[in-house]
Amino acid sequence: MAETEASRSRDLDKLLLRRGNLVGPRFEPGTELRDDLQTYARVLVVGAGGLGCELLKDLALSGFRNLDVIDMDRIEVTNLNRQFLFRLEDVGKPKAEVAAKRVMERISGANIVPHFCRIEDKEIDFYNDFNIIALGLDSLEARSYINNVACSFLEYDSDDNPREETIKPMVDGGTEGFKGHARVILPGITPCFECTIWLFPPQVKFPLCTLAETPRTAAHCIEYAHLIKWNEVHGGTAFDPDNPKHMKWVYDEAVKRAELFGIPGVTYSLTQGVVKNIIPAIASTNAIISAACALETLKIATECSKTMSNYLTYNGSEGLHTKVAEFERDKDCLVCGPGVLIELDPSITLQKFMDLLEEHPKLRLSKASVTHQGKNLYMQAPPVLEEMTRPNLSLPVFDLMGKLSKDVVHVNGMTSKNDQKVSCLRKLRLVFKGVDGVTDMDTAGGA
């Protein structure tokens, strides 16, 4: 048994038990490090698709034992060519559950908890239980959501420096055909998704009238069936891209349309590709990107090497090209930035607070609208919202924010830049004087 254990971690030991010149400044090689990795590191894998399957297996083989995986999808027959943890008899079962089971069967000691649900279904606290979040996702929305959650744990000290224990590292992988990326996000230190959202080119959208009147390509025919014909025929029923019957209907209609205009090239897989905006996945790209992500996860946890800084792109379409680019943070990022720290007396009303914003040397913000965790505290416009939020002006901000000792609010309004009035949107960290969250908890505990 001991012998098997030793041989199993032989390669990991080369990274964790020896010194090296690539190691992080605090790296302490030794068996304790390996044991701690197995005992204490908790990693959440988001997505159990092509990349998620690879990630789960790679992490389990890299010495991580406490893993969770979350995915809302069920296994489809078309997944089987690359989502190698799944078999024909698994079709219809939840991906997260089957993936967890298969990896645990093959890698003894791995303890993988599956979560068959949407990422939005979990409470925010669920995500705080993990030390690192590894992303194997196929949508910008989902990435943006997890990024928002991970950055929400981040706290800054009074000098606007991130507090290390609140940093929730993320490792993100993405592949598209023969291309892929892997990146390390240390909120507060390296750019978050929102800092670099421009990296994702907007999806190409065809004009509706082209689809309706002058289709020229197979994709036009498919989008016509998907966006126009579907509603015409099905009225209230929303199109569900994950429903194979819906997809088949769109495909059949697209074929008819293409025949009418003499356009070649409509296939079922192209229909899926256009409607879901996906490019066929390549198993080897997933494997390479996942390996890079798993390695980064290991490096973050153990510091056996400095982490990649901070964005690796991989292109295997012609030969092989790969590079690492170091992107910079947006210091005013609404999601990961520190925002402007403001200390307030708990008795200050919203109106008084807005007056303070006008005088604040860093802000000079007039005509403010204020929002706190999805609640609009005050809106300058339109009149219907101004009227609804006006009563808040005379209430204390502390009460409006649910009597929290500190929290983030966002304000927008007008400010001056080079003597010109410009509109701006700012993040503020409000701290209420004399209201200490910790003291509060102590009192609660003692009572």
Partner: protein, 264 residues
């Protein structure tokens, strides 16, 4: 199946690394082989990442930012390693297990924040009004009523629904016309052909621009971008007939085979 839109980074090209052999992995779940491959890949990646020349940051400004952020790294990651931190957290977690968790807090997406700004800066003409059917805290779904004060559609009332994505303004709002209308650029299902809603959407545009765009569809219907082919042909060939068709539809009645409910 995975990534959505990847683009090349802004930095310059650096090392070019070739993997030899071109061996393609098969998905038969052979873990032993997977394991071997992973090991070699891990070491390979570790090696080549280290060997790559340090990428040049896109601008001089950002190089200083990077230096600052690197010095941050040194300052902040000076005492405990991450794994020690995990250890402390795990102990805390075990202790906290019995304590009840805080109330779920809704985190606003960057899209919601930007939308909040758009909405609070709305400056609409008298002919356009906005409503929030789900109350003041749901800005992502709202309705706009347009009452054209000029042109063929004078006197009509047209309702549009807006649905805004959490990644707004990366993605345009989804807009539908809820009032059945005889219009060359709006079909009978409520699809709207407005360039800034699809092919010409840019993140610098905003909700105000979209509402103005919709308003202009009524003052200047355009037969060159037809969604309702019949209406477009009539507008092009016989504007007088088009005008009377619009009147008939808005008053509630048939145009050809299609019935329109009254919207005046």
């Amino acid at each position: 199946m995975m990534g959505e839109g990847l683009s090349e980074g802004k930095g310059e090209r650096h090392g070019r690394v070739m993997f030899g052999g071109g061996k393609r992995k098969e998905n038969n779940g052979d873990f032993e082989r997977e394991k071997r491959e992973l090991k070699s890949l891990l070491l390979l990646l570790l090696g080549f990442i280290a060997e790559l020349p340090k990428p040049k940051p896109p601008t001089k400004l950002c190089s200083s930012i990077i230096i600052i952020s690197l010095s941050f790294l040194c300052v902040f990651f000076s005492t405990r390693t991450m794994i020690k931190l995990f250890k402390v957290k795990e102990k805390q977690r075990e202790l906290a297990e019995n304590a009840n968790g805080g109330a779920p807090i809704k985190k606003q997406s960057a899209g919601e924040l930007r939308l909040h700004k758009d909405i609070s800066e709305l400056n609409l003409p008298k002919s356009c009004a906005i409503q929030f059917p789900n109350g003041k805290d749901d800005l992502m779904n709202f309705e706009v009523t347009i009452r054209p004060d000029d042109g063929y559609y004078l006197g009509g009332t047209f309702l549009f629904s807006f649905n805004v994505s959490p990644i707004y303004p990366h993605e345009a709002p989804k807009v539908k016309c809820k009032t059945k209308v005889y219009h060359p650029n709006i079909d009978l299902e409520g699809n709207v052909c407005l360039n800034i809603l699809r092919e010409d959407w840019k993140p610098v545009l905003n909700i105000n621009t979209v509402i103005y765009g919709l308003y202009h569809l009524f003052t200047e219907p355009n037969y060159e971008d037809p969604l309702n082919h019949d209406a477009a042909a009539v507008l092009r060939d016989n504007p007088k007939l088009f005008e009377s068709n619009v009147r008939r539809a808005m008053a509630g009645g048939y145009v050809g085979q299609t019935f329109f409910a009254r919207c005046m």
